[in-house]
C-alpha cells in the first residue's frame, strides 16, 4: 500500500470514456460548452469515476498488460487491493477468482474536474472474518483511499471492503 501515494491527473477523455461505459448521456460529463453554462462551470466526473485512478496505481494488481513502474522501489510487493484505488485489500496471495468487492462508499468533498492533478493515498481500515454459507470462510478488509488536490484539500474519500472467499460464490 503506497505511503506517499501516486499521481492521478484527471482527464476529460478518461471521464467521457468512463461515463460512456456506465451508459451515461448526461452532457455534464463530456460537453465543455454545455457544462460551462451550468452553475458547476465545467465538466465534472460521475460519482464513481474515482475508481478509474486504478490506471495510475503502480500497485494495482488487476491491471492489464501495461505496467507503470513504482515511483520508488518498494521493500516488498504490496498486498493486492481489489478494485484498485477504490478496492478493498484482498490479502496477499489471494487468487483473482476468490476476491470479491463487498462494499463501496464515496464521500464527496468537492467536484472532481478535468485538469485536477490529484494525489491518491491508501490506508488499511478494519478487517474481520465471517463464516459464509456459500463462500466458506470469508475474510473482509477495508481500504480507505483519499484523493487530494495540490493544496492538500480532499476531493473524494473512497472506502471499500474487499472479500476473499474460500470458494466461488454464485449469487
Amino acid at each position: 500500500m503506497a505511503d506517499e501515494g501516486f499521481r492521478f491527473p484527471v482527464d476529460l477523455t478518461a471521464i467521457m470514456l468512463f461515463a460512456s461505459a456506465i451508459g451515461e448521456t448526461n452532457r455534464i460529463y463530456y460537453d465543455e460548452e454545455y457544462a460551462a453554462k451550468t452553475p458547476l462551470g465545467g465538466v465534472i466526473a460521475p460519482p464513481t469515476f474515482a475508481t478509474a485512478s486504478a490506471h495510475w496505481d503502480p500497485d494495482y494488481f488487476l491491471r492489464g498488460v501495461r505496467r507503470i513502474p513504482a515511483q520508488k522501489p518498494r521493500p516488498e510487493p504490496a498486498a493486492p487491493a481489489a478494485g484498485g484505488a477504490s478496492g478493498g485489500g484482498g490479502g496477499a496471495g489471494a487468487s483473482l477468482t476468490r476476491v470479491l468487492h463487498g462494499e463501496q462508499r464515496f464521500i464527496y468533498h468537492q467536484p472532481m474536474r478535468p485538469g485536477m492533478r490529484l494525489t491518491v493515498t491508501q490506508k488499511r481500515g478494519k478487517s474481520w472474518e465471517k463464516e459464509g454459507k456459500r463462500g466458506g470462510t470469508m475474510r473482509f478488509s477495508e481500504t480507505i483511499t483519499e484523493f487530494r488536490d495540490p493544496d492538500g484539500e480532499l476531493v473524494t474519500t473512497a472506502i471499500s471492503v474487499g472479500i476473499v472467499t474460500g470458494k466461488a460464490v454464485e449469487g
Binding site: I22, L40, P46, L62, R105
Partner: protein, 146 residues
C-alpha cells in the same frame, strides 16, 4: 459546493420514490467497455474460459463497480449534478450478461440546515428476477427552497 440541483427540498417528501431502468439485456461488450474505462482487468469479467473453467462461475459477470456506476445515474438524473455528499452500496449478488437492472430510490430523511437541505436516499437495484444486486444509500445537499 452547491452543484447544479434539479429540485429543492420543498418539492421532495419522505417516502417519495423514483425508479429507472438502468440497462436492458446487459452485454458483454458493455462489461468490456467498463473494464477498459475503469482499469479493472480482472479476467473474471471478460475472459469466458477463465471465468467458467478456472474460476467455476457460469460465465463472466459484471464488475460490481459497473452496477454501482449504473445505479448512480438514478441519483444524478433525479437530484442533479454535483449535489451528492455520499454514495455507498453493498454488492449483494452478481450481475450477469443478459440481465436487466432497475434501480429504485426512496427518500428516507430530509433535514433543513439554513438555506440548504440534506436529503438521505435509500437505494436498491434489482435484476429481472426481482433479486437485489446492490443496496445502499446516498446523501445529497439541495437548496431548502428555490
Amino acid at each position: 459546493m452547491a452543484g447544479n440541483p434539479k429540485l429543492d427540498c420543498a418539492s421532495l417528501a419522505v417516502g417519495d420514490v423514483r425508479e429507472a431502468v438502468l440497462v436492458e439485456n446487459l452485454t458483454r461488450t458493455q462489461i468490456v467497455q467498463y473494464a477498459g474505462a475503469s482499469g479493472d482487468f480482472n479476467p473474471i469479467h471478460h475472459d469466458e474460459v477463465f471465468a467458467s473453467k478456472a474460476a467455476g462461475y457460469p460465465s463472466v459477470f459484471a464488475h460490481g463497480m459497473l452496477t454501482m456506476g449504473l445505479t448512480g445515474r438514478l441519483l444524478t438524473d433525479w437530484l442533479g449534478d454535483g449535489v451528492l455528499r455520499e454514495y455507498g452500496v453493498r454488492f449483494v449478488r452478481q450481475v450477469w450478461p443478459g440481465d436487466t437492472l432497475t434501480a429504485r430510490g426512496t427518500v428516507k430523511q430530509i433535514r433543513i440546515e439554513g438555506r440548504e437541505g440534506i436529503v438521505e436516499i435509500e437505494i436498491e437495484t434489482r435484476n429481472q428476477k426481482g433479486e437485489p444486486v446492490v443496496s445502499g444509500s446516498a446523501v445529497a445537499a439541495l437548496p431548502a427552497r428555490r
